[in-house]
Subunit: 182 residues, 2 copies
């Protein structure tokens, strides 16, 4: 069993489909049973972290960017596993200092995300970590924020890609690494 196949099995077993949440017609992916299972959670973190390593196993990114709020749960342990800094992309009004801001639409609503101006160094190559790729609005906003700092998204580590929503077409030519595609 590879790290990735163990993670795949954990996701298949421990993510619940909750229909009609947060609104009718949307099927929500509830990751709380995965988080409650420390073996499954650790397997998923290990698989996500692989995306930030080269073929020799060395870390090949300068920072891990996590998206509020569920992305934080995975991105923080991935940053610690890779031995690089953790950089939060937050919802509007949460970061206390001078920040870039991008507005975006998501599966069920609209919002803005922010990133501190000094959060990344120009030239940094970052790994973005989030749980689910749906319509791609959040991830596109995160990409724009990273690039506004002069940095580059070297890869995107995801638990799940909801292929039927075609978020992949929205975010542009990013290397996406979902553990599971649905």
């Amino acid at each position: 069993m590879t790290v990735r196949s163990v993670a795949h099995e954990a996701l298949s077993r421990l993510v619940l489909d909750v229909p009609d949440f947060p609104e009718p017609g949307v099927v929500f992916k509830d990751i709380t049973p995965l988080l409650a299972d420390h073996v499954g959670f650790a397997a998923v973190v290990a698989a996500l972290a692989e995306t930030g390593r080269d073929e020799t196993g060395a870390t090949c990114v300068d920072a891990v960017v996590g998206l509020e709020a569920r992305g934080f749960v995975f991105a923080a342990p991935v940053a610690l596993a890779l031995g690089v800094g953790f950089v939060p992309v937050r919802k509007a009004g949460k970061l206390p200092r001078s920040a870039h801001q991008v507005s975006y639409t998501l599966e069920y609503g609209a919002a803005s995300l922010e990133l501190h101006h000094d959060a990344l160094t120009p030239g940094d190559r970052v790994l973005v970590v989030d749980d689910v790729l749906a319509t791609g609005g959040t991830l596109l906003a995160a990409r724009q924020l990273v690039e506004a700092c002069g940095a580059t998204v070297a890869g995107v580590a995801l638990l799940m890609e909801l292929g039927f929503l075609d978020g992949r077409a929205v975010v542009g030519d990013l290397p996406l690494h979902p553990i599971v595609t649905i």
Copy 2:
């Protein structure tokens, strides 16, 4: 140097005071420079995790509860370090299934927190992890949610306690373990 003294030094050096955020008169503790420093971040996670171990070094809690959103950044790695599940307490409307809800006031506003009914097993002893203890409203709500599930807060691991706000008096007889008290 103990784990705790390394974490203390990291907090002293890497947490920024931002005056008048989010409103005039409030001094916000900006933890983003700490998160960006993987050595400092790892030291703080290690110190927080110690709170969930007994004198032999064995894990002595059944789960780690983290409070949205900044608490997630610390609670998730602490749960992985202790080898127990991670249980998120979320802001109202984010958890997709049947949940307990508690309203609370905080340093600058009011809100509600939720915890899935099945998130904890009656009799569980949990470690609550958050970044800052301010007026205590959030932590009291988290305690009430844990107890509504029939579980007990065995300890609270915190980066910082703002002693001048006296949140300790609000939360009742909880074992609080701040790395730093200001």
